[in-house]
């Protein structure tokens, strides 16, 4: 049998799972982001540090994200809209899941592509209709996967990646959010 390599270190992940089973403190992570208003409806968000495995951690380098709104919203469109960042998060999280599950199941991937569509009724955010919610009404993710596997095995990969996805959970299930003024 040829060895499957999707570039995911599954042994390390499975090892971490075993260790963290008995160490809930180490499993408690805090992800952080800091934002700053630029002008108009544009802002900049920077991310570098987080907390995990009981101590402060740092990404190799700082990432900077700009967010703005499109010109048809009478904005400057210098960057993507905040709600589009949710699609970024969902796509990358599910894709990481597909790769990890495939590695664990011995499935060689050749290509994994996804197209995402988030249906959004903007009457909610405009306050035009109080019955319309602010967020997405519906999100559709369509994967195209080329791999050494049957259709059923690929469907199972995609199902399992949703089952273990942080962003899928964060989007599909309610979360308590506290917003305060310092």
């Amino acid at each position: 049998m040829t060895t499957v390599d999707n570039g995911v270190n599954v042994e390390a992940l499975l090892g971490a799972r075993e260790v963290l089973k008995g160490a809930p403190e180490a499993a408690a992570f805090t992800w952080r982001a800091s934002s700053k208003w630029a002008h108009g409806v544009q802002s900049q968000v920077k991310i570098q540090n987080y907390f995990g495995l009981g101590e402060e951690q740092s990404h190799k380098s700082e990432s900077v994200f700009d967010a703005d709104h499109p010109e048809i919203f009478a904005a400057t469109d210098n960057a993507i809209t905040p709600i589009e960042y949710l699609l970024v998060g969902l796509a990358s999280c599910l894709t990481a899941g597909v790769a990890s599950v495939a590695q664990n199941r011995g499935i060689q991937l050749r290509s994994v592509e996804a197209n995402l569509e988030g249906a959004h009724d903007i009457r909610g955010i405009l306050g035009a209709d109080s019955d319309v919610r602010n967020g997405f009404n519906d999100i559709k993710v369509t994967f195209s996967i080329d791999a050494d596997a049957s259709k059923e095995e690929i469907e199972a990969l995609v199902a399992q990646s949703q089952k273990r996805s942080a962003v899928f959970d964060a989007l599909t299930n309610p979360t308590n959010v506290t917003v305060e003024v310092a």
């Binding site: 519906d138 059923e152 469907e155 199972a156 995609v158 199902a159 399992q160 949703q162 089952k163 899928f168 959970d169 989007l171 599909t172 299930n173 309610p174």
Partner: protein, 396 residues
């Protein structure tokens, strides 16, 4: 009593303590219409099996109680009823057992107090607005007990699907909150699906052979019901009855029930797992020649996803008048004063041998093999566990 059967065979002096009467759970803790989801021919206990006219039928709760009663007589089990065990603790070389009827000292104790002593109700039940009635399967007898109007059934395993169907048929519109579940057809290729589980060796899988034992032990009960018509009661059948399907109940906030938006994926997971199981049955049938005595392979329609499943219901609007928590059962070890429970309150044991000398367990899910979860699993489990006990006492 299965333990008693093998203890007697090994000439070990023992007593069976029961806080209620024989077959207590089947007399007091089941709803009116309940039938076993396992067929009659599988309802066998050591030395006692179904001998009626309908081996493929499903026993009503009262019939199960009768079977167990019959077993008690045949096994001549030394049962002391109405004796509640209030404490078991280690005491020089054995155990000190405190009961409502005095103390006992014993070299060994077999915990056979059941896996389903209490219904599990999630803590979010506390946030449900007062006017909405809440019932567990232990409170529930039949639909007439529920107020008229909408009913939210939370949980879509055996209990949830069975109650959802009968409540919907009573004219109360049911909304069923569906998390991860085990979908099974009642019959496959003309045979009871549990015939396949039994014969194809799925139920013989041993606890020490399973990839993920913790998961296997937590697996929800299958969506099955025992009816004379041998009907399949999957989510498509329930939707056909008019039951509305919504996602897993995640939170009650400001009087609104919020459901997961991941409903499609729990459908996919269950469909994929069912199909993998049916493929394994087909392979087994092809290699053993059992295919000759069964009908041709078949596949079932995928679970239909409602066009736009609701993710929130206002519980103050009067639409939902009652909630039935079909969210599982758990054991009660409040009386067990030996440190053998894990952080989640489950007994730590290796195939029924508990991590304390002379302490044993029977009747827990996947105790030694998948079959252990069901009545038909007790014979082999009890033989092996009591075998261990007898050897240990013999050497002692």
């Amino acid at each position: 009593m299965a333990a008693s059967h093998f203890l007697s065979a090994a000439s070990l002096d023992h007593v069976v303590l029961e806080r209620g009467e024989v077959a207590n759970s089947w007399r007091r803790e089941r709803w009116e219409s309940l039938r076993l989801l396992t067929p009659n021919w599988q309802s066998r206990l050591p030395g006692v099996s179904y001998d009626g006219p309908d081996p493929d039928g499903y026993m009503a709760a009262g019939e199960v109680a009768e079977l167990i009663e019959r077993f008690a007589k045949v096994a001549r089990a030394p049962v002391r009823t109405s004796v509640n065990v209030t404490s078991v603790r280690r005491a020089d070389g054995g155990y000190q057992v405190t009961t409502s009827d005095g103390d006992l000292a014993s070299l060994a104790v077999v915990i056979a107090s059941g896996a389903c002593n209490r219904p599990t109700v999630p803590s979010l039940a506390g946030a449900v607005p007062g006017p909405v009635a809440q019932l567990t399967p232990f409170d529930y007898r039949d639909p007439s007990q529920l107020p008229d109007g909408g009913v939210l059934v939370v949980g879509a395993s055996a209990t949830g699907v069975q109650l959802a169907a009968e409540i919907q048929r009573s004219g109360r519109p049911v909304t069923l909150s569906v998390g991860e579940h085990v979908r099974l057809p009642r019959t496959y290729r003309g045979r009871d699906v549990l015939w396949w589980m039994d014969r194809a060796g799925v139920w013989d899988q041993r606890h020490d052979e399973l990839d993920d034992l913790t998961r296997a032990r937590k697996l929800p009960s299958p969506q099955l019901v025992g009816t004379p018509e041998r009907l399949t009661l999957d989510l498509n059948a329930l939707a056909g009855l008019g039951v509305e399907l919504v996602g897993r109940l995640q939170m009650v906030r400001n009087g609104s029930a919020l459901f997961s938006g991941g409903l499609r994926n729990v459908f996919s997971l269950a469909d994929l797992k069912m199909n993998r199981l049916l493929e394994a049955f087909d392979e087994w049938a092809a290699t053993t020649g059992a295919g000759a005595v069964t009908a041709a392979p078949e596949r079932f329609a995928p679970t239909r996803v409602p066009p736009s499943p609701r993710w929130q219901i206002d519980l103050t609007s009067g639409e939902i008048r009652s909630i039935v928590w079909a969210t599982g059962f758990r054991p009660d070890y409040g009386w067990l004063d030996v440190p053998v429970l894990d952080a989640k309150g489950q007994l730590r044991h290796e195939g029924g041998v508990v991590d304390s000398p002379g302490l044993y367990a029977l009747g827990l899910p996947v105790l030694r093999r998948r079959r252990s979860t069901f009545i038909c699993g007790i014979e082999d489990d009890a033989r092996e566990v009591i075998g261990h006990l007898a050897r240990t006492l013999g050497n002692g």
